[in-house]
Assembly symmetry: C2
């Protein structure tokens, strides 16, 4: 894991992040034009943002329906883990269909986001993968009927 030392981001860094968050394939030249700077200076900053771990990844968002992943579900799990233990969470994280695993406050212990083709394959996933994980006491599955908004983009402050 990359250590984040000097995490003070100035106005220019934030502007770069704003542009790149919108379009990861924007060119240095374009960013430079927008910010009225030299491409070489932009490149240097981008490299630094990568090194500092501010930029985690450049990723391509794919339409889930295009690859036949039409079902989205959230699963709340209770486990007999000691509190603060992430073993069960790590087991859940290993499952490919699992996009998110959060340890949450309150009644339930874990909140998991899962994407599968359909309800049958979700059922299969639960039977084959979830059931193999020890310490799980109960499962509550919530099917998403419609997604109105889904973005991982963050609200980047002005400065």
């Amino acid at each position: 894991m990359i250590i984040e030392n000097n995490l003070t981001l100035d106005k220019i860094d934030l502007a770069i992040l704003r542009l790149m968050q919108e379009n990861a394939r924007v060119s240095n030249v374009q960013i430079a034009k927008d910010l009225e700077m030299a491409p070489s200076a932009i490149l240097e900053r981008v490299k630094k943002l990568e090194q500092k771990g501010v930029i985690v990844q450049y990723t391509t968002r794919i339409n889930p329906a295009a690859i036949d992943l039409k079902l989205l579900a959230f699963i709340s799990l209770k486990a007999s883990d000691s509190i603060g233990c992430v073993d069960t969470a790590k087991e859940l994280a290993k499952i490919e269909e699992v996009q998110e695993v959060h340890i949450i406050a309150g009644d339930d212990c874990y909140l998991v986001k899962v994407r599968t083709a359909d309800s049958a394959s979700l059922m299969a996933l639960m039977r084959n993968s979830f059931s193999k994980i020890k310490n799980i006491l109960s499962i509550r599955t919530t099917i998403v009927l419609e997604t109105v908004k889904e973005q991982q983009q963050l609200k980047i402050p002005e400065y």
Copy 2:
């Protein structure tokens, strides 16, 4: 919105998506080398994947902590909307701090994912933004203590 006509993705398309999902800034030349094809052929396919809406966006994942967004929460909402009505959902989607809005099956009507600086700013958000939305009957907020996995990457089938 782009209409998705010919959504039959072959093995090569899936391979391209797999590479680009991992790294949106991978070069055509690199993809071409990996798949043992000409860069021009790859480019043509990528353009088509964009046009067909298979590729939704190229985005940069930013470390939320780096821009002081350390709190993640899920909010379950009940509303007095008629079933299937997305008005409330659309209002929720307008809020910048809201990353996701799902209409869900079961007791609650909406599931919302929110990111803020801290619990104080979450409280402020709820007071200022959520409370302005009509028809909301009840709110249940779940704070995330720790995120073990968070990826929007999809499991791309072999062929």
